[in-house]
């Protein structure tokens, strides 16, 4: 399915290929695994019943139409996709404050966003593995 090969050592994408024979991080493999984990997490989150259905199941009336700022938005199924904007905002604000030259902000913020996202996925993957093993 993931026919991704490292451009340095030609190792196929997989857990072992994250650090291939060339001794470098295979970013293609990292991305492939990261995307697989994100999609798997999203799918499992979509299967779980939303909390609001539990809490308001005693109400016979249908939920009212969405009124901005007064009603909660129906985000129960795709809440995970709301994390990337959070990471982008943190990266942009941090780099805007830290950089003396503002022309560098987009590039450095994009790099920081990537770093945070990769490490969040890696941490989630590690926790998932720990939960599966123990």
């Amino acid at each position: 399915m993931f026919d991704v090969r490292c451009s340095m050592c030609d190792v196929r994408a997989g857990v072992r290929a994250l650090a291939g024979r060339c001794g470098r991080w295979c970013w293609k493999a990292v991305w492939a695994v990261s995307l697989a984990v994100v999609f798997a997490s999203t799918a499992s989150a979509a299967e779980t019943p939303p909390d609001i259905a539990h809490r308001t199941s005693h109400i016979a009336h249908p939920p009212p139409a969405y009124r901005p700022f007064l009603e909660p938005a129906p985000i129960d199924r795709y809440w995970l996709w709301l994390l990337p904007p959070l990471i982008i905002a943190v990266a942009v604000v941090y780099r805007t404050i830290k950089s003396d030259d503002l022309s560098e902000v987009p590039r450095r913020a994009a790099y920081l966003t990537l770093q945070v996202a990769v490490f969040m996925v890696a941490a989630a993957l590690a926790l998932w593995i720990v939960l599966r093993l123990f």
Partner: protein, 163 residues
């Protein structure tokens, strides 16, 4: 005759810090960092408004219906408009006769309390916007004003050229 003492920049800029708390980015605008201020205002303001759009005004509250202080509010209050939203939410909440989680089945209410994911994500967005604004407040409090720096450099250059 002794030379006058060189003017030292202020240790920290209190008016700019207060302005940054009142409105994200406003402190940087006041000290002449227009571009930086606009970026901060856009990023932090968007995050804060997005949190309110996702969870509604009920994500900003000082105390829960059990009268316990919410630690998240300490982050949210680092943006001054959160206090206005909290006050509005508190007033709206008073219209509910009993506990908050009971919506009025007879018709549209003033607002609907949020639960579950919308509540969590909305709280996270608004609190994180407040904490990011704290970074901006600290930065603007210790940043040398740009307007004061530019004329000084120009003046020094003119003196060099004249001398």
């Amino acid at each position: 005759m002794t030379d006058p003492a060189p003017q030292r920049p202020p240790l920290w800029n209190l008016p700019a810090a207060i302005a940054a708390w009142l409105l994200p980015g406003l402190g940087h605008l006041l000290i002449g960092e227009v571009k930086r201020g606009l970026i901060l205002a856009t990023a932090i303001g968007t995050l804060w408004i997005a949190g309110l759009l996702l969870g509604g005004i009920s994500v900003i509250q000082f105390k829960t219906h059990k009268d316990q202080v919410r630690p998240w509010f300490l982050g949210q209050m680092l943006i001054a408009p959160s206090l206005v939203v909290e006050y509005t939410h508190d007033r709206y909440r008073a219209h509910y006769p009993t506990l908050e989680p009971t919506p009025d089945p007879d018709g549209p209410t003033l607002y609907e309390p949020s639960y579950g994911r919308p509540y969590e994500i909305g709280t996270l967005y608004t609190a994180l916007a407040g904490l990011l604004n704290l970074l901006a407040i600290i930065d603007v409090a210790y940043r040398e004003p740009k307007r004061a720096k530019a004329p000084t450099a120009a003046k020094a250059q003119r003196e060099t050229e004249a001398g």
